[in-house]
Symmetry: C2
Subunit: 240 residues, 2 copies
DNA sequence: TTGCTCCTCACGTCACGTGAGGTGGC
DNA sequence: TTGCTCCTCACGTCACGTGAGGTGGC
């Protein structure tokens, strides 16, 4: 029956903790060595080591030191509520971080390695992305990204050209029912199908966004009057 | 041209920040109000508000205030490496938290709502689980859980009974090739198939664990000599 | 005597929260 | 005069890291 005892350095090596950490655990009343030498050096008994192992096990589960202390000082501590809380926190954290990861990935994909995009422009892109997230599901956004591929700018330019042409008709005083205007609806359908990969829910989400966010309309030169003109043309044409 | 300016409380309400946060942002040189009243009250101009919006945008991406300051004070700041670092950190974090979540969930499932499992026993279960993780993939563990279902204890008891019976033969001096011992191999195959849902890789992982971890053998009363005895019987029987 | 380990303060971390005690403008 | 907002310290958070300055045992 050899009851061994460890000095703080030995214990630190065995557990891969720092000496400071063991000091701290004593400070907060989590692990008090059972004895000291005459010179004041800490001596940890086997019981202390067992307790430390338990501390580390519970720490692995993400509990705070305070929770761990309570658990160990009372063996019939009700663990279930504690675990449920921790699970809830984790769910939230993971969801948050995954959302963040998706957003950052998409932003990163637009940063071509060579050129240095100005920070201000980067932030604008990000704000646009976050606005989009209000209207589309993650899956729909992925579809949109897939549809855009490398020719995002070409698509944007095509839509702008469409708006410009529409404005010409409007300024020429033509009615929304005018054959020249109605002829543009096929072009519009093609544009929408192209950018949404024929996903009607996605198209609807985009339309909802465009009609409720004036800033986005402005980006394409689509003022309120012109939007109304377009809506009327579509209503007359009968294509959704 | 009305250049408006805001006092700190107005800005706090608009952005849903606390006054203290705005104080802090000034303290660390992140957002300095362009003016003060005679009495020393902070006055934020429209430019300041724009800067604050940018700060909040970047904060959303999980950057530190220090990184944000650097980005905003230098418009051609190289964002790509910063984002890559952040993505890496996030990947690690998410992986860690998901592992933690899986472990906690499985532990929670074993805590039946009514009874209070003692903390020490809970920790033992957890340590056993972490040992298992060394030998099996997450998918294999899931299979194991599915196979166990509600009758985990019955399975464990069945395996213990098997070991006990085997020991009887050993203590009676029968050779591993003895018909009575060989007759037990079919029982063993059934047990293995039952707990692994006929997954051979899973069975192999479990066997590797049992043969390398003496503590686990001990839990079933399977000492080294008896393990050797069983191995020999299996070798003679020719079933893997 | 020289290393190595041990000791006890005590400040720093990161992004603020939370008072304490006092002043300014309606 | 009474509220409300504003101000400047300054300590607390969580789990330690990182010295500073000194002692003990081989």
């Amino acid at each position: 029956l050899t009851t061994h005892s460890w000095k703080i350095g030995d214990l630190a090596k065995r557990t891969h903790l720092s000496v400071r950490t063991l000091h701290y655990y004593e400070e907060v009343g989590l692990l008090r060595p059972s004895a000291r030498t005459e010179a004041g050096h800490r001596l940890y008994t086997e019981d202390d080591v067992v307790r430390l192992q338990r501390i580390l096990s519970l720490r692995q589960l993400g509990f705070t030191l305070e929770d761990i202390r309570r658990c160990l000082d009372q063996d019939d501590y009700a663990l279930a509520p504690l675990i449920d809380l921790q699970l809830e926190r984790l769910r939230e954290q993971i969801a948050l971080q995954q959302g963040l990861y998706q957003r950052l990935s998409r932003l990163r994909a637009r940063l071509h390695d060579g050129e240095n995009v100005p920070v201000t422009q980067f932030i604008e892109t990000m704000e646009a992305m976050m606005q989009i997230e209000q209207y589309l599901t993650p899956e729909q956004i992925a579809t949109l990204e897939a549809a855009h591929g490398e020719h995002r700018e070409a698509n944007v330019a095509a839509f702008k050209a469409f708006v410009d042409q529409l404005r010409t008709h409007q300024q020429a005083g033509r009615e929304p029912g005018d054959p020249a205007v109605q002829a543009m609806l096929a072009q519009r359908r093609a544009l929408v199908a192209d950018t949404t990969l024929d996903d009607p829910a996605l198209a609807q989400g985009l339309q909802r966004m465009i009609s409720t966010e004036p800033e986005i309309r402005q980006r394409f030169g689509l003022d309120d009057a012109l939007l109304a003109y377009l809506s009327e043309a579509v209503a007359i044409g009968g294509s959704c």
